[in-house]
């Protein structure tokens, strides 16, 4: 290859970049909308003043949950069953942003499989990484 001919960027990288950018932006936008609704008083799940009081007092997360929601924290994807609350929507947005890289690596790996241009070694690496991230999201790796 000549030194003056621009090499093409690898397909897997381009796909990963597009996925993470757009899913991340959508997640962050939903998070902002949820917070605006929360401050507008549209069915908030947390008592924001109690939450702030707990943060200010240096309380641990489970204590703050109990003070700000009146319920004990249940580990896991709590927001999925509380999407009718503005804070549930805000947390859904955060979760979508946190899923961007997981979806991105799955799509990039499937892209590598379909295009058949990348050495199999990187397909296997992509698959292991995608699996690792999925296990983390589902809580199987989260203890």
């Amino acid at each position: 290859m000549s030194n003056s001919v621009k090499p093409k960027a690898l397909f897997a990288g381009k796909v990963y970049g597009q996925c993470t950018f757009w899913i991340g932006v959508v997640g962050l936008a939903i998070g902002l909308i949820g917070m605006i609704l929360s401050f507008a008083g549209v069915n908030p799940y947390f008592d924001n003043q109690a939450l702030l009081d707990g943060l200010w007092a240096g309380h641990r997360a489970p204590t703050i949950w109990a003070e700000a929601t009146g319920r004990e924290f249940q580990p896991g994807h709590w927001y999925l069953s509380r999407l009718g609350f503005s804070d549930g929507i805000a947390m859904l947005g955060i979760a979508i942003a946190c899923l961007a890289a997981v979806i991105g690596i799955w799509v990039a790996t499937l892209g590598m499989v379909m295009k058949k241009r990348e050495p199999g070694f990187f397909v296997v690496l992509g698959f292991i990484l995608a699996l690792l991230l999925t296990l983390s999201v589902t809580g199987i790796l989260s203890g």
Partner: protein, 315 residues
């Protein structure tokens, strides 16, 4: 300066070392708290970008050192803001082919795996070790942050296009280096990689630190790629950004599922950090920002000393 005033005001509200038994009335409204967080994180994002590092490595030590908020919540938010920034920043690097997707897939495996181990360890310490665990986290983070500050000083000697003496056999066999188009030279840059196994071992350690302390750790990943594995600086910096998006995603979920993420804290921090980084990237093209690096180093060392003092006070 606004950030310091804000964090000073927060620190005046309660001593993070002493956790009070009852909830007292806060001095500020939640909306004002959000706006202050947004402003503080905009400033952090701005200066971090001018200094050429990710925001997480400044956010976590500063907020742990100078606010009364519980460290588990700060570390959750720190990982989230570090990850959110890299999600948005990765696209142009990958589209232009500067970030090496093969190198980052290869290096992301130990980094991600050990970032999860670090996050699980953080959860275990938080649940079982009480004040001693908190003292350990603060003291160790203080040392790590001072170490990172030292790394930034040493990293002044980074190499734009390092030459690999002995080429790594595995890297060559799997075609790890991918040539890229360098705009400033108007030519294709081809490079070789060296000491890959050593680099992966160090990345596993950096991943553990990132997951345990809730920092992005890009400041440590770039020297590993550039000075240990001898990738060109641009490839090292851009591949590090993309790799952190993977590693921090895996590490942030144990924190989220453990209840450390509150939208009231995370959303304004994330929005401020992205805005600050965006403005910083534009300003960086027009000014000489060398002095900013020294401000960041001073801030990190100050936060590190403060964390160590807090840790000693808790023992």
């Amino acid at each position: 300066m606004s950030l310091l005033l804000m964090t000073g005001a927060l620190a005046a509200g309660a001593d993070p070392v002493e956790v009070s038994d009852s909830v007292g009335p806060s001095a500020i409204h939640p909306l004002l708290f959000c706006l202050l967080l947004f402003l503080g994180c905009t400033i952090i994002g701005f200066f971090a970008t001018l200094g050429g590092i990710g925001g997480g490595v400044i956010f976590t030590p500063l907020f742990m050192g100078f606010t009364p908020i519980d460290s588990y919540i700060i570390r959750t938010t720190g990982l989230f803001v570090a990850m959110a920034g890299t999600l948005v920043a990765s696209r142009p690097f990958l589209y232009k082919g500067i970030a090496n997707i093969r190198l980052l897939l290869f290096a992301a495996l130990p980094y991600t795996l050990f970032a999860v181990v670090g996050a699980l360890l953080a959860g275990h310490i938080d649940r079982t070790m009480g004040a001693e665990g908190e003292a350990f986290i603060r003291g160790a983070l203080g040392l790590v942050v001072i170490g990172f500050g030292g790394l930034f000083i040493v990293f002044g000697g980074r190499t734009e296009y390092p030459r690999a003496g002995k080429v790594n056999g595995l890297a060559k066999k799997v075609e790890l280096p991918v040539p890229y188009w360098e705009e400033s030279l108007e030519e294709v840059v081809r490079y070789k990689l060296s000491r890959v196994a050593r680099g992966l071992l160090i990345l596993a350690l950096v991943g553990t630190i990132s997951g345990l302390f809730g920092i992005g750790a890009g400041g440590a990943v770039v020297p590993v790629f550039n000075l240990v594995m001898l990738a060109p600086l641009k490839v090292a910096a851009t591949s590090s950004t993309v790799m952190i998006s993977l590693g921090d995603t895996a590490a942030v979920w144990p924190y989220i599922l453990g209840g450390g993420m509150f939208p009231l804290v995370a959303v304004p921090c994330m929005a401020g950090m992205l805005l600050g980084a965006h403005v910083g990237a534009r300003v960086m093209l027009r000014i000489k920002a060398g002095f900013v690096r020294w401000i960041i180093i001073a801030l990190m060392i100050a936060a590190g000393i403060r964390l160590i003092v807090q840790a000693l006070g808790m023992l």
